[in-house]
Symmetry: C2
Subunit: 480 residues, 2 copies
């Protein structure tokens, strides 16, 4: 037991220093590492496998909704980036510039893509001719670079992995429907795969994507009461299609500009998983996204029949599509392994020893609530499949309860400031809709309006910050 | 019929101008497009879906052989690139340099990765401590940039997509076994997925990877008699591990340098598929890698029951895991559609009309040999699954026969030069092993030694180029 305490002590307690807890967890569980290039991270296999599971879920849903993958160049000529005014103002300060190819200086600087609207629109402009070809429903999986001054692995790094969808539509209505459909797929992914409840809504003008008509977002609440913007979907209207002269012959025979959307989620989601579900023992991974769903630890594995049985169970679970690891390393004790996989957040630990085999049972320990129960070896695959679903549902329920506890309604700016200091979380209130009011709140408190939720409640007639007439109910929070 | 001829005429004949045929095929089938950045291509959905199928095959095989995916930074500091002497000499002339981040000039230039040995070794040096942690079996899927003066889509572009495996091993024997294992997985993929026969062997010193001890390769013969290097696997020995000071505590307690491999294939393979299997009507896609395996074209689709039956067949085939498209567009005639999907190389076309339904049959046309036969609608899924395998096997057999026809043994340099001019292909002969001899042949004829094949034959005692004592049997060819 002494060893266990020591082991767990390696991770700083959340309550003592949340940022340090986060760093301890990602480093000690081998998810990620700092690279020799400041602000760039290495995603190690245990972190990358989570991304692969997110990719697999989303890629399936994108294809089911008619999207196809493609690939556009990494480098974008400066002149293209400059074509949409708001866009270049938003991104130029944070791009990496390529100035030389081999030993030659380039005639025009190229930026490493911070996002691909401009290069993609330049191609769409070349391709599109008729309404018959619409909609364009394309997506790409790639990395993007945005030069950041202060970075944290997964949450904010100068390079990250993501997907970016870019679609064109004949009508404004179709573009709006696509924008909302993709946001709802993100929300479904967050809840069904990551067990993270999301608030969905629209960004204020101040917070929207550079060049968008409207940006929609899903926002999650982390354990420390800060919000994480977890996915965005933009209705770009005709801002880019006009700037890039993308036209098509419409049904009436006239040339028209198509309506445009883009949407993306990134490896930042992995940071969200850690900060929503993790605890002082380390990671707690939602089962559907966990690289290892069940770790089998044989007890007294030198005893006859133990390893055979352990391998038999592994095979049975794998046949059910469960991701299993059997750790039969003889260099470490079962106790050391328990701690190790607990820290790594493996949802279920299955212990099997000589006495269990005699009784035709296995002990199964849940990572999420630390409970332990014995299960019959008969139909173990089915019991464990069901248990993984139970763990998922319990984790989503607990995360939702926690978020709701941390969500408060404020009546005025003073109450807001006090509550945000004492017990930060989602603040619900009415807002006048004015950028000036929003900017003042941010300057004075560091809190931003996270979104104007789809699910509007009428909490009063005046802005809870400035007392002008209210326009929207909003969620505000400090954010990553 | 007039329309059909016109349609096919759009593609230049192979015999008239092979490079133009290639360009016509990739452009007219919507696989790829040129981008606004010289030498950079856009991979469109029909080309990208082929890459996804290659990825899916390889990713499964990599994981089955114990490899894990991860992700290393896109940008590499100049000082890291400089650490291995041969490597920097090989790559520095063709890298893109990032000199500014946002508005700030960087203290040190960063290159966009041309390959990742250096950045990965800098991390391995930080991570590795003991022999117990070995082997490291890591892979990443990403894009790389190599500044090229003259480019052709898929074959040679300034950016391309690939995977790069990077492994560390305790012993030289294990590294060599890994190097050969990965080459054999590439060969398996080429033959079982792409229906392309490969010659496997070792590169000459002149042709090996910059920094490698030995490079192994798979080489395919294109329809015009030129070779395509299709995948390489490098035994890097301790060249990089010493340069990057990667050490581990060995079994004896002493510090040792691990043995190192790297291996990769890229989107260049798609160029190989086109140039091995294509014909004057356009693409001919091997069924296992084809984005669409069967296209269903309803005949007289306005007649009652035709579309219902067509959808029923689609569903049945999809349930068998077959990739199906049903084209029920009423803007185009069946004849137009036949030409379209023929050009796009869809392996099987299924026609279903009122008379077929009456007779409980469907007509199926094979793209590879243009034969047409009727099949009973009973157990159609099974018939078509079997037929797809037949098509694959026939394509691989024909490509092998063609390659063998184009492979000749030469007795001396004069005969070699004449044959290479009259009927280029793989030239088999003996070689002295001297770099000078190899360089002379390349300078005078443009032909390179493609590999020293594993399957050695003794064709004489003297070098067939220069008459010095022979060391190896080699394959030589002009190459892409
Ligand atoms: Zn206000
Ligand atoms: Zn010679």
């Amino acid at each position: 037991m002494a060893k266990k305490q020591e082991f767990v002590k390696e991770i700083t307690k959340m309550e003592d220093d949340f940022p340090q807890w986060y760093t301890d967890v990602i480093m000690k569980t081998d998810m990620v590492d700092y690279s020799p290039v400041k602000g760039f991270m290495v995603i190690k296999p245990y972190g990358y496998a989570i991304w692969e599971n997110i990719q697999s879920f989303l890629d399936r849903r994108f294809k089911e909704t008619g999207h196809q993958n493609c690939y556009f160049p990494l480098l974008i000529p400066e002149s293209l980036l400059n074509k949409e005014k708001e866009h270049v103002e938003g991104f130029a300060p944070e791009v990496a510039w390529v100035t030389h190819g081999g030993s030659e200086k380039l005639a025009e600087r190229l930026c490493v893509r911070p996002t691909s609207e401009t290069i993609i629109c330049s191609m769409y402009s070349k391709w599109l001719t008729s309404y018959r070809e619409l909609p364009y429903l394309y997506n790409q999986w790639c990395s993007v670079v945005r030069w950041e001054k202060s970075t944290r692995p997964f949450l904010r790094t100068s390079e990250f992995l993501w997907q970016e969808g870019h679609t064109l539509h004949e009508t404004a209505e179709e573009a709006q429907a696509e924008t909302l459909q993709m946001l709802s797929i993100y929300k479904e992914m967050a809840e069904d795969l990551l067990a993270i409840p999301m608030v969905d809504g629209r960004k204020s003008d101040r917070e929207r994507f550079a060049g968008a008509e409207s940006t929609y977002t899903i926002e999650a609440l982390m354990h420390d009461g800060k919000a994480l913007q977890s996915g965005t979907s933009h209705n770009l209207a005709q801002h880019f299609t006009k700037a890039f002269d993308i036209t098509f012959q419409g049904r009436s025979g006239e040339l028209e500009y198509p309506h445009h959307t883009s949407w993306g989620v990134s490896t930042r989601l992995i940071g969200g998983i850690i900060m929503v579900h993790g605890d002082n023992r380390g990671l707690v991974l939602p089962p559907r996204v966990a690289p290892i769903q069940v770790v089998i630890i044989p007890i007294a594995q030198n005893k006859e029949g133990v390893l055979d049985k352990a391998y038999e169970i592994k095979k049975e679970l794998e046949a059910k599509g469960i991701r299993v690891k059997l750790d039969d390393d003889t260099n470490y004790s079962p106790g050391w392994k328990f701690n190790q996989y607990e820290m790594k957040g493996v949802p279920l630990r299955l212990e099997i020893g000589p006495r269990d085999i005699e009784q035709n049972i296995a002990m199964i320990a849940r990572r999420d609530d630390l409970s332990k129960e014995s299960y019959s070896l008969d139909n173990l695959g089915e019991s464990i499949s069901a248990l993984l679903d139970t763990v998922h549902n319990d984790m989503l329920r607990r995360a939702t309860e926690y978020r709701d506890e941390k969500t408060f309604t404020f009546k005025d700016y003073e109450e807001f400031k006090v509550k945000m200091k004492e017990s930060p979380g989602f603040a619900k209130g009415m807002w006048c809709g004015e950028e000036e009011c929003e900017a003042k709140v941010k300057d004075e408190t560091g809190v931003t309006i996270r979104c104007i939720p789809f699910n509007q409640e009428n909490l009063g007639d005046t802005c809870h910050f400035c007392q002008k007439p209210a326009k929207h109910m909003i969620y505000a929070a400090k954010a990553y």
